[in-house]
């Protein structure tokens, strides 16, 4: 396996910035909607573009951890709760993707996106609910609420992956991204 280089770290940091900017643009649209997980569902198609780009450029296991770990540290200035659910989601994603051998193939990148955004929605909603009231967590844990939420966020992550792959093609055509396919 190739060692991590300075170029990888810098690229990952800029993808983190992209994910943060996508969140800053998309999330305000949903501030008035009191549905659990809706913010992640709206953020995923745009944040997923940058996550896919990072996965495609870095390709190794640990790519999501590098991008989302930095984002979690950055957002720790807003709330430890955000940091907590992002770290849990990145650990779930990295463990599952370690079995698949990283993010070299398109399918693995799709899987990585779906797992990350689905787990972010679920852990975010549950931790957020527990913070407000433990009773709310019991209500949210019911399958008829949790399952559609997970499926929708997974779908939103898949849209992010699809858009990300489109951008990868454009960047390659412009000679801006060296990705093995």
């Amino acid at each position: 396996m190739k060692p991590w280089t300075l170029k990888d770290y810098v690229f990952a940091a800029f993808m983190t910035i992209g994910i943060a900017v996508a969140s800053a643009i998309a999330v305000p649209l949903t501030l008035g909607i009191p549905l659990p997980g809706v913010r992640t569902i709206v953020w995923a198609p745009f944040g997923g573009i940058f996550l896919t780009l990072g996965m495609a450029r870095l390709q190794r296991s640990g790519s999501v951890a590098l991008m989302i770990g930095t984002l979690a540290l950055l957002l720790s200035r807003l709330s430890w709760i955000i940091t907590a659910f992002l770290v849990i989601s990145l650990v779930i994603t990295e463990i599952m993707m370690l079995v698949r051998g990283g993010y070299r193939s398109k399918f693995n990148r799709l899987l990585g996106n779906v797992i990350f955004f689905a787990s972010t929605t679920v852990t975010g909603a549950l931790i957020g609910a527990y913070t407000a009231s433990p009773g709310l967590t019991q209500w949210l844990s019911q399958p008829w609420i949790l399952l559609p939420m997970t499926l929708l966020s997974g779908l939103a992550g898949a849209i992010g992956w699809w858009l990300g792959e489109l951008v990868i093609k454009q960047l390659q055509r412009a000679g801006k991204l060296d990705v093995d396919r």
Binding site: L6, F14, I17, I25, F46, L73, S76, A132, G135, V167
Partner: protein
């Protein structure tokens, strides 16, 4: 951004306290807020945090305090009112309302009193991997620039008569594709800049202003321990209340 700006203006006691001590205390208080079951104990914890936050904001802007206090009080009252309706128990609703305050306040308090540079020093002192600190520094440095770039792209669209800021269906082609091209260019430029300066992400780094434990840090830790003990005592004495 306002938090970053605010922290640089505040030369108060908390600002000069060791950032690592503040991070640990903030985590302890957040953890404690989850475990306290008594409304009086939670009230004391929330009150201490609100007072500290007020003291920090007083250094910024009086109007902001007023607006923040009104908005915060309304949000808390709404939360407690809805909680009372759902749980049919005023005391439990109040406990959860105060708990939310105690969980949410330590981080803005930490952010208001810790400039990003101090936080980076604390993370370096905590022996976090150097690549993570590099990523964090780059993110802090370039996030405002990339946000400006996204604003410029939106304005360029507006000049052409297209306002895409409220039209998510046009964001991909109209905003994100040009933004990604700019971001990738920035990433390339920064990499070249760092490489030409011989930057090695794995090399041991030195600090121009190393963290030193001072008397005020000890006082801060003693004060925090006293609050934690008081809250713990109130919680155990009034258990079930």
């Amino acid at each position: 951004m306002s938090i970053a700006r605010a922290s640089s203006k505040s030369p108060g006691f908390l600002t000069r306290v060791n950032p690592l001590a503040k991070i640990i205390v903030s985590l302890v208080i957040t953890g404690m807020a989850f475990s306290v079951k008594n409304v009086w104990a939670m009230g004391v914890l929330a009150a201490v945090l609100v007072v500290l936050l007020m003291l920090c904001i007083t250094r910024q802007n009086i109007r902001q305090i007023g607006q923040g206090m009104i908005a915060g009080t309304i949000a808390l009252l709404l939360f407690v009112a809805i909680g009372t309706l759902l749980l049919n128990n005023v005391q439990a609703a109040l406990l959860y309302g105060l708990r939310l305050v105690a969980i949410l306040l330590p981080t803005p308090l930490l952010a208001l009193t810790t400039p990003p540079a101090d936080l980076v020093r604390a993370l370096q002192a905590a022996k976090l991997p150097s690549f993570l600190i590099l990523s964090l520094m780059l993110t802090w440095r370039f996030l405002p620039i990339i946000q400006q770039e996204s604003q410029r792209i939106l304005e360029a669209n507006q000049l052409r008569g297209v306002d895409i800021s409220r039209q998510p269906q046009h964001w991909f082609a109209g905003l994100f594709v040009p933004l990604i091209f700019r971001i990738v260019s920035y990433a390339d430029d920064v990499t070249i800049g760092l490489e030409t300066r011989g930057y090695d992400p794995n090399a041991t780094r030195s600090m121009s202003q190393p963290l030193v434990w001072q008397l005020r840090d000890t006082l801060f830790v003693i004060g925090s321990v006293l609050v934690v003990v008081l809250v713990g005592y109130l919680d155990s004495v009034n258990a079930g209340g």
